[in-house]
């Protein structure tokens, strides 16, 4: 019965002050939009990190060098110098040849560095120049798009050949076919024998396609020298055997380096571990973003209270008239509460539209991923904000004494 009329009064009240209502709505709009968009960005960056890690290769284990469990001071005091031994090709060959690691399928030694590459005046910095064996390609999930990979023969003969990623192709060659051309890597001429299929994902600082693969021997000859390997890439037979493979590799390496678990001079990382670390990092990131957005939503809510307080003060006389005509307290309360809720719900709905629209754009290489529950949450919160933040001014209006309200100037 009366509810519809009260709703109409509320609408009329909002329309009487379009600019003000619009600006208040904007406050909520920004809050809700920010919640949705920032959570989507957080989610998107999480997804990007995960995609990046899985693009490294499935079932990938990485053996890297690590200082021993004792610090230098402690080590020198006791006189037992803890020597950080190198990762060597011999280690890689041991892992490949041993029959004590049945869960390991492929092993590739890796020496990597970054260097400047030039081709006929074009120059680019390749983040990752990977010197390795051909076996590295399946481990790192790389496939050859054009030309061919380098071969074991190339490794044995120290041939200066290279397979380049798509970013390098674009940066150095543009539209020219790179196969068979010679580029300078750190001043040394390499012949391009193939290109890698694009992996995508990542961003400017972490582009998986800004890569060049070359024979280990050649890279050691011309770029990294013959120190330690950067890492040994190991592929487990399948995802389920990754943990078993990690244990086997660890025990083989302990034996080969004559160390105990306490003084390990290497570490074996497993993709699953990386994934969970990355997941928890992005989780924190998302929570932070959401907190910032929630604060802006709160500020929007305070804007609603503020504007409704002004409205009630301005319209005290109107409230007096309505009361003199027999408006019950509930009708006045309802009218102003509906005004506040309308402000915030309309702002919330527009904020959802803005947030969803905004998340279609890529933000610094991160493709936002919408979280449906965040949309529901943000919209719900905006409605609740209207109720909570509108109830103070609405109550104030409803409690006015008719004669005092009428006397108000």
């Amino acid at each position: 019965m009366r509810a519809r009329e009260v709703f109409r009064f509320a609408l009329r009240g909002l329309r009487a002050n379009k600019l003000r209502s619009g600006l208040t709505t904007l406050g909520i709009l920004i809050g809700v939009g920010a919640v949705i968009l920032l959570i989507a960005v957080g989610q998107g960056s999480g997804a990007a990190v995960q995609a990046r890690i899985s693009s490294l290769g499935s079932n990938l284990l990485t053996v890297t060098r690590q200082a021993g469990g004792f610090g230098r001071a402690a080590a020198t005091r006791t006189g037992t110098q803890s020597k950080v031994s190198n990762l060597t090709v011999a280690d890689a060959q041991l892992l490949a040849a041993s029959d004590q690691d049945p869960d390991v399928s492929v092993v590739a030694p890796v020496a990597s560095t970054s260097a400047t590459a030039t081709f006929e005046g074009a120059t680019t910095t390749i983040n990752q120049i990977v010197g390795t064996y051909p076996a590295y390609l399946p481990i790192s999930n790389d496939t050859v798009a054009a030309g061919s990979s380098f071969t074991d023969e190339d490794v044995n003969r120290h041939r200066k050949v290279v397979v380049i990623g798509q970013t390098v192709v674009t940066n150095l060659f543009g539209t020219i076919d790179p196969i068979g051309r010679t580029i300078q890597l750190g001043g040394v001429p390499y012949t391009v024998v193939g290109t890698l299929a694009a992996k995508g994902g990542g961003n400017t600082f972490n582009d998986p396609d800004n890569v060049a693969l070359a024979p280990l021997t050649t890279v050691q000859d011309s770029l990294t020298g013959f120190g330690s390997l950067s890492e040994i890439a190991v592929q487990a037979r399948d995802a389920n055997s990754a943990n078993a493979a990690q244990a086997e590799v660890t025990s083989l390496m302990l034996e080969a380096h004559h160390v105990t678990a306490a003084s390990e001079d290497f570490s074996v990382t497993n993709e699953a571990t990386l994934l969970s670390t990355a997941a928890s990092t992005t989780q924190t990131f998302t929570v932070l973003l959401a907190a910032v957005a929630a604060i802006s939503l709160l500020v929007g809510g305070i804007g609603v209270t503020n504007i409704m307080l002004v409205t009630v003060t301005e319209r005290t006389r109107e409230i007096g008239i309505r009361k003199a005509l027999g408006a019950p307290r509930g009708a006045i309360l309802g009218q102003f509460l509906i005004e506040a809720v309308l402000l915030s719900v309309v702002g919330g709905a527009l904020g959802v539209v803005a947030g969803v629209a905004g998340s279609r754009f890529t933000v610094d290489g991160i493709k936002p991923v919408l979280v449906p529950s965040s949309i529901l949450l943000a919209f719900g919160v905006s409605a609740v904000i209207g109720l909570v933040f509108g109830s103070l001014p609405a109550n104030r209006a409803a409690k006015l004494h008719p004669i005092e309200a009428l006397r108000h100037e």
Binding site: M1, E318, I321, G326
Partner: protein, 273 residues
Amino acid sequence: MTEYQSADGPVTGYAPPRPSAVWISALRKVYGEGDAAVHALRGVDLDIPHGDYVAVMGASGSGKSTLMNIVGCLDVPSSGEYRLDGIAIADLDERQLSLVRNRKIGFVFQSFNLLARTTAFENVELPLVYGAVRGPQRRRRALAALHLVGLGDRVDHHPNQLSGGQQQRVAIARALVTAPSLVLADEPTGNLDTQSSSEVMSLFDRLNAAGRTIVLITHEEDIAAHAKRAVRLVDGLIVQDVRFAPVDGLPPRLATAGAGRPAAPSLALGPGA
């Protein structure tokens, strides 16, 4: 509420005498406290039977508006007793008070107090909305009230598109639309010229002739001459109470101007609710 309420309905057999429209005893109103206290009313006794037409007069600051606001249930007295149609107003809670304001009282203000940016029709409709009268009936009654005050052709005008006299007539239509038994008017002609004043006053005359109880405040003797009775306030006390015409008869102006002329039938908006 009190036993008197049933007096409005049809009663078979023994019928108790109908309680007065307004019955006031030892009414006091003090604004402020201590040294700054203003005694606006100092013990007013007043009995207004149904059908009466009372002009309240007195110097500025004598307490007329204060009295009127209390009678209209917009303000509460500091002490004393007030019964409206037999109902002790002091006993009512907030919700019942708003019902009384809505159903039993029509208030007309000196400054019109129409809602801005709201058409004449919607202004008049307002008390019916709060009285929970439904769509078609609400529309019919609001239009009837506007026709009654001669503004059938100004239904969709906003207050700022109407003259002062027209605005006051919209306000009167709004006061009448719920068919209240008591119509209160605080200087209804205070902001109007002679022509508009006489239009408004003849409206009140005809309303009273149709049975409504009217109390109005005025400073002018010739406005007061429309009433059946004049009450004079000085410093918050009633010092004079004169009757010009009997409660049951026609108001003086109608009685002299056209003896035997029937009240306009369109005034029959129905008896007090």
